[in-house]
Symmetry: C2
Subunit: 102 residues, 2 copies
């Protein structure tokens, strides 16, 4: 797998991040990654086809929410918590802490 592009911290936009987080599938990915990072794409049990899942991982990556590190035949995903906390303090934490209807 080849190295993918990730936006630098400074160019993350608030609307971009909010939009990336506003989809239930993507929010589920983010919540899983917050609990234990370093998971490959295939380990998420998402209710969509793998091409659709790939699309969602890409949206999260391009918004700067996750990092995708190639390793063998898979990508290891992790939350870009430090970058997110630096750019939008408290945002991710409040999103992760939210309860109730998705």
């Amino acid at each position: 797998m080849r190295e993918l592009n990730h936006p630098p911290r400074k160019s993350l936009t608030l609307t971009g991040v909010l939009y990336a987080l506003s989809d239930p599938v993507r929010l589920a990915i983010v919540k899983h990654l917050a609990e234990d990072g370093g998971k490959a794409c295939g380990t998420f049990c998402l209710p969509v086809a793998k091409s659709t899942a790939s699309h969602h991982f890409r949206v999260l990556r391009e918004a700067g929410v996750i990092q995708m590190r190639p390793e063998g035949t898979q990508y290891i995903n992790s939350l870009r918590r430090e970058d997110l906390d630096a750019r939008f303090p408290g945002l991710i934490e409040s999103v992760l802490r939210a309860t109730g209807p998705i």
Copy 2:
């Protein structure tokens, strides 16, 4: 002007609120309302036609982000801060505090 429907606090969804906030025009509305609430729709100087602005106000209202109270020929808008804070503690504050690229 007639009374409009507002979702009850309990039925606000995280993805719905995040989506409503993920548009630059709507985010601008929310930021203005956070600075001083009780503003009519026409006072916002938005870069879109009034029918489009009306659409954005509706999206914010239906997501539970703002309240629109009819008064004479206009609607007085305000942030539903208490409801938002109760459902998603810290979320709105972090969104309002965010700096840098929109």
